[in-house]
């Protein structure tokens, strides 16, 4: 079930492939040019690795892989959006790759519709709503859902069975 947006908000818009997305500016810390991503093997394929942001090690997520969208080629305009989200009971800072980052726009409640069940390639659980502007659509992302613990596979099922020789409790 998508959340409803009640009031006017500011959203940072960016592109993944041909689609335009938006994130509430409150979750955005900064936008960076991409630097070398150090690959860290992880359970989820959309966790690309980590980068250095002023001395901090920040994980980087490839949203196109996470949302199962087609990739555009890496261009000059690729950016990393540094996002802050709640993870469990603490904050986490992550970077999200975007093909290009556009502008911050304001949308009030009248310009936003709830996500349709069908017709949008992206799973509706990630969508806060669809913003309408200049005849185009902006898919507004629910950051808390996109970067939730379940998504990042951090929550282990309690009754995991030990597997073979190595065992899963060591």
């Amino acid at each position: 079930m998508a959340n409803r947006i009640e009031k006017t908000g500011q959203y940072l818009t960016f592109k993944l492939g041909e689609e335009i997305f938006g994130i509430n500016i409150a979750s955005v810390r900064e936008v960076l040019k991409p630097t070398k991503i150090t690959h860290i093997p992880a359970a989820m394929d959309f966790l690309k690795g980590v980068i250095n942001v002023r001395g901090n090690v920040v994980p980087v997520v490839d949203l196109q892989t996470q949302f199962k969208l087609p990739h555009a080629a890496n261009s000059q305009r690729t950016r990393v959006i540094i996002v802050e989200s709640e993870l469990g009971d603490s904050k986490v800072i992550l970077g999200a790759l975007a093909d290009s980052v556009d502008e911050v726009i304001e949308l009030d409640a009248s310009q936003i519709e709830p996500a349709p069940r069908v017709g949008v390639r992206l799973d509706s659980r990630f969508i806060l709503g669809i913003g309408k502007r200049d005849g185009g659509f902006i898919i507004l992302l629910d950051v808390a859902r996109v970067f939730s613990e379940e998504e990042l596979l951090l929550v282990e099922a309690v009754a995991t069975k030990p597997t073979g020789a190595t065992g899963s409790y060591s």
Partner: protein, 718 residues
């Protein structure tokens, strides 16, 4: 409880007062527990008396009348004990321990913590002792109960070593850019040194081959490190040396005989006859000449060893002076927050310095800068070591606290317990020790409650009636290993398995090794005692203990033999933040290997590969060491070079070689956590940011070893 005086006291002052009282209470408790073992120890009795006296004074000054009154009686009793009018016995100790608890409750200012009745009872008990009619002439022989040994003060003592290293004259080391300087500096880092270069092999100019190092060095070194540690300083050039000798002087630094003659005798430079004769010679004549001069006059060939011995003597003398002053130990209280800030700042400095160094190395002709850069590197390393050591405390402080716990638990459960410790001088970062308290308490409680049988059961099983808990701590590579061992009934795999099936954690069809079955204990909600005793109850399970240890980036393992006991091993990384890293590269990716795990570095030649006939093993001085290529482990893409390097690493006394394309060198690295997102990544223990700004993962050698020895087919793709 407080008079109007407290209204005039600032919160900071009150805090200081509480700290003082608590310090005294700690000293009091420690002394009492030791007195249980040796009731006649006058020094300890004095300590108890003084502690009470101090508390009484402080309490009186700051308007804590109740405490003052209470302590007054105890103090009086101990004054009589001091004077021999009352005998120290088990009951008195127990009573005094109770008194200590009451004082603590009163001092905490929490009215709910004070049990009025109990307070009265104890106070009265003391008062009664002071009445002439009491006649406390108790028997001296008692059963020792809850005996515990104080943790041994086995701090490795400093000693003087004579180190000599001499290059092979057939080896043109200077042409290979080898220099003796890093090794001399390495020795300086181990302790105080006197460096005495030796010139006897140095030829005149005509015969001099500039590529050979004819100079060699005798070094007198005072250090608390072992001979092995000293030897390992020369790890990388051992093959180039014709001689590396490390001899420990048998003389005690403080009390030994450090006369020149004695030193030369110990070193084997002169014989006892020569010494005796020279001493006789010295006594003849009105102006005794120094022994050194006499010996050299008689045999000019020993001029150099005499100089060396004199240097060593000078070193020892200056050390003795310093020690004398050090024994007046002064310490300073520092709020933890300030220390943490300091550590963070040093961490940032280390990163910045690494960046600076990298920039300078790439500059041409910047010799002056390079010199300064090297100096700053050394200074930063020293600063890091000093800062880290400020935060390090011996784990014995924690072990000591458990004496009381074990004693009380044993007596409550009517079991007889001995607690022994070893390695109490092992140092850990302060915060790690604080975090270890709860898990260790829980493990000890568990042991005593569930593990140790009652005295009757033990006798029936052919064991001694008293149970034994053994706490130990030691360094192992980059980790600290802490063990909690008991000689109780041990774990029964059958029972555990049944419980596991019952709780739905495993199915009946699964076959598990004993080790895997033991690991079930760490699953949430697991508990074999049907009635949770009120001691280890409260729902604090072993899974919480495990999570706690893992939050410190540590690991937890159980071993047990049914009927004999159980050992829990905790392994924690030693420093939280800064380590020496060994940087390697394969394909385009770089990795850091903790230097403490690195044993040596060899080339992987085609011969070695062929000799192994398809197995990935290498022969190092007749030891078979398995290796794994990092490019295979992490599925890296790139052309495999003809010449690869093998870094031999060790964890848990097992070795594994890591094959890489290039070895890049050493540098200090600041450990950055990979964060909660990568929490479950097994082969990396963290990451660091190098001087060029790139994030580089730090390898977890222990986990890599597990993987290699389990010959798992998993590979991780990047």
């Amino acid at each position: 409880m407080t008079s109007s005086l407290s209204d005039f006291i600032s919160p900071e002052e009150m805090e200081q007062v509480h700290t003082d009282i608590n310090d005294n209470l700690t000293a009091l408790e420690d002394a009492l527990l030791l007195l249980e073992k040796e009731p006649a120890d006058g020094e300890r009795i004095n300590t108890v008396f003084r502690a009470m006296h101090s508390i009484k004074g402080i309490a009186g000054m700051f308007g804590m009348e109740r405490i003052a009154e209470f302590t007054h009686h105890v103090e009086d009793v101990y004054d009589w004990v001091r004077k021999g009018r009352i005998t120290m016995d088990k009951e008195l100790i127990s009573l005094t321990l109770l008194a200590r608890d009451q004082i603590a409750a009163l001092a905490s200012g929490n009215p709910a913590g004070v049990q009025e009745e109990e307070l009265q009872r104890v106070q009265t008990a003391f008062q009664v002792m002071l009445t002439p009619a009491a006649g406390h002439e108790k028997q001296k022989n008692q059963e020792p109960v809850g005996l515990s040994k104080a943790w041994p003060t086995e701090k490795t003592a400093e000693a003087l070593y004579w180190v000599r290293f001499r290059f092979d004259l057939h080896n043109p080391i200077f042409a290979c850019a080898t220099s003796p300087l890093p090794y001399l500096n390495g020795l300086k880092r181990l302790g105080e040194c006197q460096i005495i270069p030796q010139f006897d092999l140095l030829p005149e100019l005509d015969d001099l081959d500039v590529n050979i190092c004819y100079l060699y060095w005798d070094v007198a070194l005072i250090t608390d490190q072992s001979e092995l540690d000293i030897r390992s300083e020369f790890m990388f050039i051992e093959e180039d040396l014709a001689e590396l000798s490390i001899k420990k002087s048998p003389e005690d630094l403080a009390e030994g005989d450090w006369r020149l003659g004695r030193i030369l005798l110990d070193q084997g430079v002169i014989s006892p006859q020569t010494l005796a004769e020279t001493v006789r010679q010295q006594r003849i004549g009105s102006h005794p000449e120094p022994i050194g001069a006499l010996l050299t006059a008689a045999d000019p060939g020993i001029a150099a060893p005499v100089v060396t011995a004199l240097a060593g003597q000078k070193l020892v003398k200056s050390r003795q002076e310093v020690s004398g002053k050090e024994n007046e130990v002064t310490s300073v209280r520092v709020p933890s927050a300030k220390l943490d800030l300091l550590v963070n700042q040093v961490g940032e400095l280390v990163i910045a310095q690494a960046r600076l160094r990298q920039l300078i190395v790439s500059m041409k002709e910047a010799y002056a800068l390079q010199g300064v850069s090297e100096e700053i590197t050394l200074l930063t390393e020293n600063l890091r070591d000093s800062t880290m050591s400020i935060r390090m405390l011996p784990i014995g402080t924690l072990f000591n606290k458990f004496n009381r716990l074990v004693r009380d638990l044993a007596s409550d459960l009517q079991k007889s317990m001995i607690m022994e410790t070893s390695g109490g001088e092992t140092e850990l970062d302060k915060t790690v020790i604080e975090h270890l308290n709860d898990p260790l308490v829980h493990l000890i409680r568990n042991s005593i409650d569930h593990g140790i049988e009652s005295p009757e059961q033990r006798i029936a099983a052919g064991k001694k009636p008293g149970g034994r808990i053994f706490l130990s701590a030691n360094h192992a590579g980059a980790d600290v290993v802490i063990r909690v061992s008991d000689d109780g009934r041990g774990l029964d795999p059958k029972v555990l398995r049944a419980k596991g099936i019952e709780k739905g954690l495993i199915t009946a069809e699964q076959t598990l090794s004993p080790r895997e079955i033991f690991q079930l204990i760490f699953a949430p909600g697991f508990s074999t005692k049907s009635s949770v005793s009120n001691l280890s109850g409260r729902g604090v399970g072993m899974d919480v203990v495990k999570k706690h240890i893992e939050s410190l980036r540590g690991t937890l393992h159980i071993e047990s033999v049914l009927g004999e006991g159980c050992t829990i091993t905790i392994k924690l990384p030693l420093t939280l933040a800064i380590i020496d890293g060994f940087l390697v590269q394969t394909c385009e990716e770089r990795f850091v290997i903790p230097l403490t795990t690195v044993r040596e570095c060899v080339r992987l030649t085609k011969e070695e590969i062929d000799k192994a006939h398809g197995e990935q093993i290498i022969n190092i001085r007749n030891e078979i060491v398995p290796y794994v290529r990092l490019r295979d482990l992490f599925k890296l893409r790139g052309v495999q070079p003809d010449k690869e390097q093998v870094v031999i690493t060790e964890a848990d006394s097992q070795r594994v070689g890591l094959v890489v394309d290039h070895v890049l060198g050493q540098s200090q690295v600041v450990i950055k956590s990979l964060g909660s997102v990568f929490r479950n990544v097994p082969l990396f223990s963290g990451a660091t940011i190098l001087g060029d700004g790139e994030v580089v993962p730090i390898l977890d050698i222990g986990k890599i070893l597990e993987q290699v020895t389990n010959s798992s087919n998993d590979v991780y793709s990047l």
